[in-house]
Structure formats: C-alpha cells, structure tokens
Amino acid sequence: MAMTADTPSISAKLSHLQLLEAESIHIFREVAAEFQNPVMLYSIGKDSSVMLRLAQKAFHPGPIPFPLLHVDTGYKFREMLEFRDSYTRELGVNLIVHRNEEALRDGTNPARLGTQRCCGLLKTTALLDALRNHGFDAAFGGARRDEEKSRAKERIFSFRDSAGQWDPKNQRPELWNLYNGRIGPGESIRVFPLSNWTELDIWHYIHLEHIPIVPLYFAKERRMLVRGDSLIPVEQPFVKGLPGEEQWIRCRLRSLGCSPCTGAIRSDADTLPKIIAELVSFRSSERANRVIDHDQDGSMEIKKREGYF
C-alpha cells in the first residue's frame, strides 16, 4: 500500500489492507526463498491482477523471480487473452501458456461433454500436465477463502501428493506465519497468498492501487443469450440461441471463467466505485453465476481433491 513517505507518526495504525498486503508479500518471499522452481498461476481475472501486483511489490526493485503460467482452455474470452498478452508484455514477465491440445483436437467442449468432464480435461488435466512437464514444485494460486466453503478450509501452503491431489482431512498444521514447505520428490505445494482477502478487499485494493483489469468487469452493451435469469455470452460457435434469445444487454462479468460457462450480470457499473457500490448491495456470491460450481453438492471440493485450483 502506498504510504506517504516521511510519515511523522511513530506507530500509525495500519489499515487492514496494509496488513493483508504485508502478509501476502511475506508469503511470496518465503516461497521464492524455499523452493527450487515456483510458478504463479495466472488466470487473468481480478484476483490474478492483484496477485501479480503483490508479486511485483515483494521483489521490488528486482524482477519477479518466477514465470507465470496460464492454463488456456481455449474458451476464454477474447478480451481476456488480449489483456493477458498486452499486460504481461508491458510488465516484462515471463508467461507460459499451456493448453490441452489433444483434448481440444478431439472437440472437447462443455456442450458436448458436460461441464464436469470439460473442466476435468481442459483445466485440471491441463494444469497437472503443465506443472509436471515444467517440474514446478510450488504454484501460487489466487484463490480466496471467502469464495467457497471448501476453500475456506484450505491452508496457505497446501500440500499436494505426487498426483497433484489435495487431502482435506489430513492437512499439515499451519501455525503463525511459519509455513512448512518441505516436500518429497514429485510432491508440490499450492500457495495461496490471497487466502485472507475478501472480494471487497480485492476491489478496494484495485481501486486504491489503480491496478489494470480486464474490461469485461465493466458494464457495457454486449451480445448475450438471454435464458431465464441467465445471461450467456455469445462467443463460441456452439453457444447458439433460439430465435429472440440473442440480445444486446448492458451487463458485465463479476468473475471471469470460460465464456460458455460464465454468466454475466445485468449492470450499469462502468467504474470501480460503481462496481464496489454494486458489490456491497449484492445478495448472492460471486460464484453464483458460474455453472460449474453447481453441478453437485461439494463439486468444488471434488475438483480440488483431483488437483484443480
């Protein structure tokens, strides 16, 4: 957090965002110091944007000492990919993009296989392959504990066995800020530097720090498929509406995923303050618009056990 230089007071009260920032930076540095080959999962969303800024802060004035990895399902929004390429180029960070080309060649998409199998192949398998191929021993993820109740259970240093799996019933104790990063061959640690941030904290920080984010978060007129309460973005050829279902709607995305599975919300919030104001008035969680989390009870936990972030 920006603190004015030459602050005279002896022990000014730190804001909770300053405390969160200090904690996250500490986590980044511990990982960089203790692991041979860490990587940061970069999903292009708002949390990744904040995570990237915190990584810059952690190693300033040096460069970020690890690459970024984007697992591209092939169904990400065009605006996300454009943002990814221009922003990472501007920062001069090392970006690795990995896709499960084989599954994509076989025509994997959520309409054909259902969301669960599609996610399994294009996200989880792709991620595990990428981590294994590059031999990454630690991977930062931007998940927050306030997102979902199985995430609320996860450690900051989350141990994964050699198959990349999480065992929620047998997590390592994690006391104070003493993280145990010791692993055996093939094992790895997922690290969550944003664990204690809430959705409001993220937006608040983006606002205060002027952090660039994908324009999809801001409201504008977009071509949408309107089905019941859902607004489904029309980007992929297999997303086809019935006559009259496709409309121009003023809307935005609250969380970014794959275009066929991430619903938009009707909104006029085209500035950060308006987004925050809207957020404070929300009655539903940010993942309520994600098709994939609702497949069945505990579906996030199941995906996480299998190696999903």
Binding site: A5, T7, L14, S15, K57, P61, L175, L200, E301
Partner: protein, 572 residues
Amino acid sequence: MPHLTEAPNARIDEVSSRPGDAPVPIPIEEFLAQEQSKDLLRFSTAGSVDDGKSTLIGRLLYDSQNVYEDHVRAVTRTQGTHALPTIDFAQLTDGLRAEREQGITIDVAYRYFSTSRRKFIIADTPGHEQYTRNMATGASTADLAIILLDARKGILTQSRRHAYIASLLGIPKLVAAVNKMDLVGYSQDVFEQHQRDLKALVARMGNIEIECIPVSALEGDNVVTRGENTPWYSGPSLLEYLETVPVAERHSRLSFRLPVQRVIRPHQHFRGFAGQIAAGTIYRGDTVVALPSGRKSRVQSISTFDGDLAQAQAPLSIVVTLEDELDISRGDVIASEEAPPQAAKNFEASLVWLHPQAMHIGKTYLLKHTTQTVKARVSSIRHRIDIETLAEQPADTLQMNAIGVVVVEANRALIVDSYNQNRSTGSFILIDPTSNATVGAGMIRQVIADGDGAYAEKDLLQASALLMVGNRPELAADLEERLLALRVAVVRTRVQNPDTWRALLHAGVVAIVESNESSELSIASLHGGQSELISEALAQGIAADHTASAHAVVEALIKKQIIAARIGDETK
C-alpha cells in the same frame, strides 16, 4: 455482499438502485474511507465436540446479515411435508463433505465478516480431540478466542485443553459462550454455576480475562441481539462484545527486528534485505546490528514498490539497504542496536505435540524459526501438563495433543525473543525430517546460557590470535564486541608478559593486548606451534594505520582463516 444496516450502505443501495443516475463517487469514497479506518479483530472458536461452535458462527454470520442468499439456500432443508424450512447453521462453515456427512468439524474454516465498526476474521475450529492440531492452527493467529460450553455438560476435558492452548498461544482474552441455554430452560443458576467454574479455571492459567455470555446458537439468543429468554442477563450480546472489546496490541513493544527472508540484488548498486518486520519501528538513518555477525551499520533506505519510506513499523513487509557492505543472508536478523534479540542454541520452550507419532527425546527434527530452518533435538522434558488438573508431571515423551515444557538444543544459534515478548521471534515449529510432517509447535520461554554472557562456553569458536592494539581503548572495545558477536572467545589484557601471551594463544582465545604506548597495531597467530606475525602486507595495510577500524581487523582475521566464516544453511 453482506448487507450493512448502517447509513453508508443505505446510500450505496440508493445509488445502485437508480441506474445511470446520480454520480456514485462521493458516498462510495466515504464508505471506503470508513472501511479503511475499521480495525481488525481475529478470533477463533474453541471447546469440546458438539458444543455448537459452528452453529454459533453460522448464526452470528446469518443474523448480522453477512451470508449470501445462495449460500443460505444451499444449507436450508425442509424435513417432512408440513415442516418449515430450517437452516443448518453449522453447514455454513462445515465446508467439507466428510464434515457434513459426520456432522462434525474436521479442519479450521476461515470466515470473514464486517460490521459498521469492525472487520473480523473468524477461525472456526474443530472440537474433536483428534483434530486438536487444527484448533491450534486456528488459534495461533487469533487475538481472542470464544470458548463454548454446552450448558448441559459444563467444562469438559477438551474445553480445558483448548482454554489452556489458547492461553499458551498468548491469546489474552477469552469469551465464554455458555451455549444451548434453550435446553436448560434458560436457567440463571446453571449459567452462574458455569461462570464460576470458568473463572476458577482461567484464574489458574495466568493473566487472562474472561467474559461469560449465555447464548443459544440454535435460537439466536444473545448472539447478535439480546434475547427475551434471559431477562436476568444484563451484559452484551456476543456480537456487541466482539465489536467493542479493545483489540489487544498485536505487536510487541520490543525494538526493531527484521528477520531477513531474501537478499534482493537486481544490479551491482542495490543490495537490499527483504523481510516482514517482526517488531518495532525503523527509521532511515537508524543504526542497526546484523545478527549473528554482530556487525553494525546504518539504514540507508527503506525501499518499497511505492517509493522509499522514512520509517516503517511491524508488521509491514519492506526492503532495507545499509550504508556498509555487510554479509547478511536469509536467516539473519537485522535489529535495533539497542536491546537486540539474543542468540541461543539452547532454550526452554512450551511444546504442543501435533503428530500421532510421539515425540522422541534426542531425535533430530528440523526446526523452523522465523526465516531459518536448522536441525534440533529435544534434549529433555521438564514436565508435561496434566490437562485434567493442569498439574505439572514428569514425562519422558509427549504423545499427540500433549503439552509440555521442554529443553531444545539447536545445531546452530537462533536469534530469539521469548514468545510472551514477541510471537514471531518467539515461536517455532518442528518438522519430521523423514515424513516432512509438521509435528510440534513451540513457544520459547527462555534462553539457557551456561557460562557468562549471552553465549554458552562450548558454543564459542576456537581461534587463536594476539591483537596488540597499544593505547586504543575504543578500538579494543569495538573489537571485543564484534568478536563476541561472532562467537569467538575473547580476553582483554594489559599484561605485557610474552609467556602469558603464549599461554593465551595455546588456550585458543583471541587476546586483545592493550598497553599505555601508542605503538603500532600488530597481529600474531599460532603457526606450527610457533607464534608468527601475520604477513607484512597485513601489518602495513591495517595494522600500521593509526585509524585502523575494528571492522578491518576482523575482516583480516577472517581472510587469514584465523576465524572461521559462518557455515551455510545445513538443511539445504
């Protein structure tokens, strides 16, 4: 997002419900300013299995309008055709499938909420004895613990264990929620009996405050609002208490300490030491000491991404650069020169054992303390705590969930404070070197020094040299301090007898020989049993110079390998 009932929210709502209308920025900026000024209270739950911890947290979140509708819907069930839908509050936090199936909490759930006054981070922990390690995890970062009792059962072993762990972890405040009051007819007598027992219990744990509140997590009495069922109770509701209890000073009053995590060296002209401040405040220009080397320098800059700072306080994460080129690496501590932490290989600590495989005296574990990991052993157990009676009893091992006071012997000196002075420089974990499991959580009570001064005799580095300094008392003092910091045995003498000098050399000490003459500085060391004047170049380079600095002399001794340089991280 959780609805706030206060004014700022009403204005935000108003704005967002009139799309495209009045400009938003002013009220939202006010709202954010208010957000920024709220303080943060971290609390954890404690108590025996099924006392109602998760139900209470669910109720607290729900009644204070801090739960999303889709999350409430997901835990609402209608049993039978005519029954009203009921919310299973515990399931708002019991987020694992196994937890929902078994109806118990297995691991900590972290929840976040805020009211108009405060922000809260809750760690809802499991009561089951098997998962005590997860309770300790949640409590280790808490400022306050809510200890629950089932009004029908009162204090159970696990309530006592949790209260004791909370006190060990230095949580200064406990609030006891005497729960399930609905099942004892909201009886004042029952509540008062439990209150007496609780006060008696914590009185034996030292300096802890306790507040008792009668609640029903299921019905909501005295959780957010005061209930009508307890007219005899005039104290605050749980939320009222949490919103107003003074937040304890999170960081200790110790002077500046920065455990170094990493050296940041983007180019030749910048060498910064990165870390999170563990205590105190640092100002640009302050004199600091690097430990364990004991070398001093001044802070040249406090550098952050957002620009240089004139000062920084705990717990900010910063990078400092120093005016002199000191050899500092991960695991070292940069501290204020006044009252720096102690270097210790041996110390007494409270230890909570977290693993099914019992602790072994003498076994080598890895010990992680601040930013360094060293090999260490538990050399003895002073006593174990009997959780039933809190009495100290002899023991030769600690089983899972046992708590004791032990003596730890590390392979290398750690730079420590006692835990009650500072959580971060006073805590450590033990890791099993084979399984990599975290097996113990320790809190340093005191350093054990056998012998004079800060360092135990046997830890001193053997080195032999005579430093003839003549009449330079300041140089002599400076040399003595630097050498001691390097753990070198040093004597200062004014005896001018060559036989004494030779004896000192053979005894393996560095002798600083002072005299009344302003003679040239010279250095002698042992070589093949004979004393030898160190090379001409050295004698001329540093010794002949009247302004010779202690720093230059020590550097020369290291270069000549009279003093061994520090050994690297042995666990890597």
